[in-house]
Structures are given as C-alpha cells and as structure tokens.
C-alpha cells in the first residue's frame, strides 16, 4: 500500500493524538473502576476488551481516512438504509438486556446497532443538508422530517434507547439550525415544542416511558426524595466526583466505583471514577483535552473544502458535544440519567468503533481540505 507523503504531512495527528489520549485515560479508568474489591480476586478483563476495541477502532479509522469522504456522500443513502435495517433487525432479533432490546449477537460478538446507526445518521444528514439551499422552508422541513427524523426516532424509542433517540433528535435540530431555517419554521418549531409538551406529556409520561425512566426524571428533579433508591445513581456519582477534591484520591484509590457504590462505573459513570481519583486538576486536564478536540473539529468544519465536508464535521462535532455535555452533566447531577456514554472513555465496543469511525471522518475532511489534493 502506497502512502502519499502529503497524506502523512496533512494528516491530523493532533486529532488522532487527542482521541488516543482520551481513550487511554478511559482504559486506565476502566481498569481502576473494575478492580476487585477484595485482593486476590481476578481482575475483570473489561480494560483488555476495551483495548482490543480501540485497536479495531484505529483500523476502522485508517480505512475511513483512506477513502475520500465524497465517497461517503455518494453512498450516504446506502449507509443510512443499512443503519435503519439494523435498527429494525435489532427490534426483531435483538437480545434483551437491562430492560431494553439493544444488542444483537453475531458470531459470538454482541454489538449495539444504534451506535453504528448514529454514524450513518450524521453522514446522511450532512449529505442531505449540504445539498439543500438555505433557508429551510416549512415544506422542505416536512419533506425531510419523516425519513430523516421520525422513522429512526420511532425505531430507537421502540427498543427503547432513549439516550440515542434524544441525541439523534438533538443532532437533527442543531444541524437544521446550522443550515438556517426560515423564521416562520423556527417560530413554528418553537411553538410546536411549547404546545406539544403539555399536550403530549400525558401520553409520553404514561405510555412511552418505562418505570425506570420515569423514576430517573423524578430523581433528577429532586435527588433528596430517596438517596438510596431512584436518586441513588446521581447522589453516588456526585459523592464520587466531590470526594476527589482538588488533587484526587490517586489512581487505583477511588472507592466509589470498585466498591459498587456507583453503578455503571465503567460505562456511563466513568467520568465520576476518573474525577474521584484525579481530582479537580485531573478533571480540568481531561476537559481541556475535550475542548481541544472540539476546537479542532470545528476548525476542520471551518476549513473544509466543500459544503458536505463542512456539514459532516459540524454534525459529528454536534454529536460528540451532545454526548460529552449530557454525560458529564449527568454525572454531576445537572442532567437526568439518560444512559449516554462518554465519547472515547466509556467502556463499550460498538461505541468505540462508531466514535473512531466518526473521528476518522473528521480527519478525512481535514486531510482533504485543499481543492488541489488528489
């Protein structure tokens, strides 16, 4: 395989470095979070699995970088259709775990189609919006709404994967906003939101949400209702983060995670474990890495050579930003608990693959930012 010298020169090593740094911090935190409470017991292999997934993710990343991203624009419909099919497939054949039908097993591996779907989703969205002439009119909005928003949302809610569903809705609206909407449409959406909430509230609250989802929202509203019960996740996560204080308890010295006070310690609450062990200083360092990542991603969008590249980088940034802020907000008790992983840090194979593919797309767009290239 011949590697172009310009490709090496223009390759966004900083982006890759940031992704790898955050990933390795994640692996270390997973290692510490899952260590057995009693000495002598075997250490669960989550961290090794995560390393393997990161390796696979890197391979995917390089494959994605090698292809011209225009290729993804051309095939966006195919990817999107495949993604939707996966969502249908998981509803039909999926495995039920933790009250939701989210996983499918293929040859011993189980993965979450919704994680892969969100990559296909942002590609599709970027391809569609980049070809559209702004501002988006009422008609145009309602033309794209059923296929690009309602259908996937319905499929996701059906699993139910409320996290991914609300993230997808958020990405959709942000991307539309970036494309610019007619004033009428903007006001219309705002009014619809205001009116529909009380109108659909009853329906959503009683028929759509599961008990545990209702409880999470109640717990978010008032964590003092029952610290040992439904508000438990949030209060234990706050305790973990707060108890880290300025300097942290030190690597492998956190107690909230490995001693099981904190649930989902290596997945959704991995940041809490990190903040407990590394304190304010470590957390600020980690946040700085993410800031740099987002800055680089937005800069990629700014410098993209065409509208699709720009939108692709933008929607991917939106996706990561929504995940990051919702997750960190959730661990600090500022958001309801909606099962969203921390990008690159949380344990989870499909999520790692999806995130690396998305990061590959960002690098790809930046690599091909010059008209002359290739």
């Amino acid at each position: 395989m011949q590697v172009d010298r310009r490709a090496v020169q223009n390759f966004d090593w900083l982006m890759l470095g940031l992704v790898l740094a955050i990933s390795l911090i994640g692996v270390l935190t997973i290692y510490s979070a899952t260590r057995p409470g009693v000495e002598g017991q075997p250490h669960p292999v989550f961290f090794i699995k995560q390393l393997i997934w990161i390796m696979l993710g890197l391979i995917c990343l390089f494959i994605v970088v090698r292809l011209d991203y225009q290729w993804f624009a051309r095939l966006s419909v195919v990817f999107y259709a495949a993604g939707l099919l996966l969502l249908v497939f998981v509803l039909v054949k999926g495995r039920v775990g933790m009250g939701a039908q989210r996983w499918v097993s293929i040859g011993g591996f189980s993965f979450q189609p919704s994680e892969l779907f969100r990559v296909a989703f942002v590609i599709m969205l970027s391809a569609y919006l980049s070809r559209m002439k702004p501002p988006i009119s009422f008609m145009a909005f309602f033309r794209m709404l059923p296929l690009l928003a309602l259908l996937p949302l319905l499929l996701l809610v059906k699993q139910p994967d409320l996290g991914t569903a609300s993230m997808a809705a958020g990405i959709f609206l942000l991307a539309c906003a970036a494309r610019k909407m007619e004033k009428k449409l903007l006001i219309g959406i705002a009014l619809f939101g205001l009116i529909s909430v009380p109108f659909f509230w009853d329906l959503i609250w009683h028929d759509f949400l599961h008990d545990y989802q209702r409880n999470r929202i109640i717990a978010f509203m008032d964590t003092d209702i029952d610290p040992a019960g439904i508000g438990y996740h949030i209060s234990q996560s706050k305790v973990a983060i707060g108890s880290g204080m300025v300097f942290g308890k030190g690597f492998m010295h956190g107690t909230q995670g490995p001693f099981r006070f904190l649930p989902e310690k290596h997945t959704d609450f991995v940041f809490s474990v990190f903040a407990e062990e590394w304190g304010l200083l470590g957390s600020l360092f980690l946040i700085a890495l993410y800031m740099l990542f987002f800055y680089r991603a937005l800069d990629t969008a700014r410098q993209a050579k065409d509208e699709f590249g720009c939108f692709l980088a933008l929607t991917i940034t939106f996706m990561f930003a929504i995940y990051f802020f919702f997750n960190i907000g959730m661990t600090m008790g500022m958001m309801p608990v909606v099962g969203i992983p921390m990008p690159f840090m949380s344990y989870g194979g499909t999520a790692v693959l999806a995130n690396y593919i998305a990061a590959g797309l960002l690098i790809n767009v930046r690599l091909r930012r010059f008209e002359l290239f290739y």
Binding site: P134, I241, I287, A301, L314
Partner: protein
C-alpha cells in the same frame, strides 16, 4: 456554492465555551466548595465500624476449677449479597432445617446488610459436614462467635446464672452502653451480679465494605479487653457432693464459711441448664421452664420460706438461756405431751423423753421441753433473739428477690391478723411451727453464729476470701459464753451421741459435725409430707463450713436431709486433706491454686 457562512462556527465555539465554563464551575462547586462534605460521605460509605466482642471472664471455683468458660459457637449464615441466590430448599437438606424456617429467617432480614444467621451451636460433626459441601453453597459462610459454656450444666445454676442478649430496656440504659448490641450481658445470678467485672471491653474493627455490605478488608483494629476472671468462694467438691446426694428432690443447700462469710455452696433443686439461655433460649424451652409445676427457676435457698421445725429449737434454747428463764440443770419431765388449757401439744416421741434437761432436749429434740420453756420465755423474747440472729430480715444477698421469712409476735399478729396473741401460738412457735418461716440461707447463717461462738455473717461473700474487708464481714453478737458453750455441746451431741437424732445419719469418721435435725409440718394449703431440715457446722471444734439442708416434703430431717449435709461436709474436708497432703509431700507447687 457555499451557502454556509463559516463565521457561524465562531458562534458555535462561543456557545460551547459557555457550556465548558458551566461544567468547570460545577466541577469547582462539587470538588472544591463541597469536596470535604463529599469526601466524608464517601468514607462513611466504605468504612464500617463493627464491634469485636470481648471474651467474658472465666468463673473458677475456690480451687481453680473452671465452672464457666467461653466456647466457640459455630454458626452458619447467608452472606448479605447472596440472599437472592440462597435456595431454601437445598439449604434445608444441608442444615436439617425446615424450609419454612429458612424462608422466614431470610425474609425477616430482607434488605439488611448483615448476614442472616441460620443455625448456631453447630456440633463439630455438623461443621465438618457443611464445610465439606461449602463449595456447592457459595452463599453460606461458617463463622465462629464466642459463646458461654456452663460446664456443669445445672450445677449451682441458681448461683451462677446465665447470660443473654440485651433486653430492650437494657439497650436503652446507659449502664449498658459499652455492651455491643450484638453482645451478651449477664442476665441472672453471678453472671449478672459481676457483669461489669466479667464483661470486658469490646474491641472495634474498622472494615472496608462495598455497597452490598461485603467486608473487603480490615483497615484497623482495636483488640478487645478480656473480662476479668472470677474465683468464687464456691467449693466444687462440696457443691457436687450435695447435688449428687440430693438427687431429684426439691429443696436447697446453702453452705458458707462462718468466719469469712464465703459462700461455699448454693444449691436449689430442681434446677435448670443455663446453657439453654445461650445464645438465646428457644420459646419452647422457656415455656417449659416457666410452666414447670416444680418451678425450677425458683431459688429455694432464699426465694422461698419454710417452717423451720425443730431446727428452731436452737433459737428457743438461746432465748431461754440468755433471758435466764432456764439453767442447764432445770429439767422437764416429758411424758409425750404438754397441756395448755384444754389442749394437749404432743411430743414427736409419743412415749416421752422422761426427765429432760436442755442438753438432752436439744440432742433428742424433745418438744415438751421447748413448749415449756418457750412459753416461759415468751414470744417477744424468742422473737428478739431470732431477729438479732438474722431472721425476719433479708440478707441483701443481691441475687434477685429475697424472702425475709417471718418471726411472729404479738405486735405482728395485731398488725397482720387483727387479733391478739395466744399462748398456744408461743408453744408451737417454740418448736418452729405455726407462723414461723425461715429461709435455708438464714439457717446456715445461724449455724455460723453458733459454730464461731457469736460471729454473725450479715451477708455472704461470693468471691474467695483473700484478706481484707468483704461483703460477708462477720459482726460479733453478744451472747453469754455459757449459752454458746452449752448449745455447741448439745449440737455436737446430736451427731456424736448414740441417742442424738442425727447420729446414725450424719456421724462421720472423717470430721466432727455438729447439727440439728428438723421435721417441719406443712401446714399451709399445700398439704404434703413434712419438710426435712438439717442444719450443721463442721468441724465442731473450729468450723469451716456452716450449712443448711432443706428437702421439700422430704420427710424426716435425720433421714432425708442429714446425709446430704454429711456428704457435702465430707467432700469439702476430703478435698482439703488431699490438697494438704500434696502440699506437704512437696514438689507440687505448680498445682492449681491450692
């Protein structure tokens, strides 16, 4: 064909910067402003202080023989995080327990972070059997606790008592603050009386636990302080001999050292097994004890009072002699009866004792003699001496409620019965019948006074005398020496002389015993055979043991009670001689506390 104004990206960056600022501010709030608070909560989360029970003191008899010791209590429990896995059906087979009981125990502690104890006091065989199959039952664990072992079971059970878990009232009492809620405290007898000494100081263990309450690691430990051992005044040889000879009858034996006030033995029968109370008495066992018509929990040594019968003649004799109503030479001719008005009071010996002076009256227990001089002394006189000798009052022994007995007189009768005192009542009181009631403890104390020539033991000392002032410190009682000598001689005669009432049943080759028999008629609503008494001290010349034996409905004092006293005294003397022989033989200095 770029529709998108790239300058908008700066706006997006600005919005994100605001979000980052909010996140950082929140982080500052949690980790800096409230950091200490959360650190404390996290520590409270992971650290748990548990009590380490202190081993209780061991209780020895006066010769260093252990009476009560600590023993391991093997228990099998279900781990707190494995309650869901516990399958009552299969555990029931392993532990030989009904499924319903296991299910009940598991449900009782649902949601608690403590292990559920399924079975205690496992035998070694059971432990071995369960241990071997523990891999099939990962939810089970075998723990060792400290339990109490009452080595001789029901021997001296009323004295030694038992321990138990804190009662709700005790748990609220600051006096029990240093007793862990899981621990034991003395609930009865000496275990209760000396609880503060025996208790020890519980240790503490700082344990790291996880959210399920599983112990991960011991962080720190303050070892417990063992409770103080007790060396009782009790003589195991004497106690065993008394209990053995007493058998299954109901009654009491009280033995004490008349010089030091040491309690050498205390027996009440029927008895109970204190081991039943540890770790907790089963409701069925408790019901059986409480509802037993023979009242095994009643301490007959001082919680029950009896007519003293002829043993009371000692007091009548002292009163008559001290008051100068009679001299040693005065005789009464006993023809088997004593007339007062129209009523004739019979002597137990229907053919009569013939001419009887005070010595013979005591040795052969002539009723007519004491009718005569009792009447002449008068009830007030007899009562005065009886009370001076510790009757009609509680000894304040400190082991639960105590009966004070009753010495009747005119004032008492007016108060209690609203009636005047009749001379006939003095006649029956002179021989320890009628209203007179005493406890075996009071009778043993009386024998101490006689044996020591006037030293009265107000209470008893439970612990071995090691010098200094003790609870049972004797106080002198002013009696004429002639009186003492005469009574002492007569009581020796009861056993020594061929015609003495206890000669055939209490005379010992080993030691000189002085005593007095009593056969007390049961006049209360509970009609039945007479109560048998024998009160004694030995050796006659220099007494070390003063004792009282009472056999409820036992019949004759000489045949029913005296052999018990003899066996008990002989056991005490024999053991003492044995110890001295070893001591003088030399080379045995290391033998336990001689």
């Amino acid at each position: 064909m770029n529709y998108f104004d790239r300058q908008n990206i700066k706006l997006i960056m600005a919005v994100m910067a605001v979000f980052f600022f909010i996140v950082t501010a929140r982080l500052w709030q949690l980790q800096v402003l409230r950091g200490k608070e959360f650190r404390r909560i996290a520590e409270d989360n992971r650290l748990r202080i548990t009590d380490i029970l202190a081993p209780r003191g061991i209780i020895y008899d006066r010769n260093g023989m252990p009476l009560v010791r600590n023993s391991p209590n093997f228990c099998v429990s279900v781990l707190p995080d494995m309650k869901k896995e516990a399958h009552a059906g299969s555990i029931s087979g392993l532990l030989n327990m009904p499924v319903e009981e296991i299910t009940r125990l598991l449900n009782e502690k649902k949601g608690s972070l403590e292990p559920v104890k399924l079975k205690e006091r496992l035998s070694f065989e059971e432990v071995a059997r369960i241990e071997a199959r523990l891999s099939e039952f990962p939810e089970l664990t075998i723990d060792v606790e400290i339990a109490r072992d009452y080595i001789y079971a029901d021997l001296a059970a009323h004295l030694i008592g038992y321990i138990g878990k804190l009662a709700p009232a005790q748990a609220a009492d600051p006096a029990f603050d240093d007793v862990p809620r899981t621990g034991y405290t003395g609930q009865w007898g000496l275990e209760k009386f000396f609880d503060k000494d025996l208790r020890g100081v519980p240790g503490q263990r700082l344990i790291e636990v996880d959210a399920l309450g599983r112990e991960l690691r011991i962080v720190g430990e303050i070892p417990p302080g063992k409770g103080g051992d007790l060396t009782l005044a009790l003589d195991l040889n004497l106690q065993m001999a008394a209990e053995e000879e007493f058998g299954d009858r109901a009654g009491a034996v009280v033995a004490m050292n008349p010089k030091t006030g040491e309690l050498l033995g205390l027996m009440s029968r029927p008895s109970f097994d204190p081991n039943l109370f540890v770790p907790a008495i089963k409701p069925a066992d408790w019901r059986a004890l409480a509802l037993d018509p023979r009242h095994p929990m009643l301490n007959r040594a001082f919680q029950s009072q009896y007519p003293p019968g002829s043993t009371f003649k000692i007091i009548t004799a002292i009163a008559a002699l001290e008051e100068g109503v009679v001299s040693p030479e005065n005789t009464v001719t006993c023809r088997g009866g004593f007339g007062l008005g129209s009523h004739v009071f019979g002597c137990w010996r229907h053919e009569g004792h013939g001419p009887t002076a005070i010595y013979k009256a005591l040795v052969e227990s002539c009723d007519v003699y004491f009718y005569t001089y009792g009447l002449r002394t008068g009830m007030d006189g007899i009562a005065r001496y009886a009370r001076a000798l510790g009757f009609d009052t509680k000894a304040g022994i400190g082991l639960g409620s105590e009966k004070k007995g009753l010495i009747p007189d005119a004032a008492w009768k007016m108060r209690a019965r609203k009636d005047k005192w009749y001379p006939g009542e003095t006649v029956v009181a002179s021989i320890g019948q009628g209203y007179v009631a005493v406890t075996p403890l009071q009778m043993a104390r009386l024998m101490g006074v006689i044996g020591t020539g006037g030293k009265f033991i107000p209470s008893v000392s439970f612990l071995k005398y090691t010098g200094g002032r003790v609870r049972g410190e004797p106080v002198p009682i002013a009696l004429k020496e002639s009186t003492i000598k005469l009574v002492q001689d007569a009581l020796a005669g009861v056993v020594r002389d061929d015609r003495g009432t206890a000669h055939w049943s209490a005379h010992s080759q080993l030691v000189s015993i002085s005593g007095k028999t009593g056969t007390a008629q049961v006049t209360s609503s509970l009609q039945g055979p007479d109560h048998a008494w024998f009160v004694a001290y030995a050796p006659s010349e220099d007494p070390e043991v003063a004792l009282a034996v009472l056999v409820e409905n036992g019949g004759h004092g000489a045949s029913a009670a005296a052999p018990v006293a003899k066996k008990a005294i002989e056991a005490y003397v024999k053991a003492k001689q044995e110890r001295e022989r070893i001591k003088y033989a030399g080379g045995q200095e290391s033998s336990p506390k001689l």
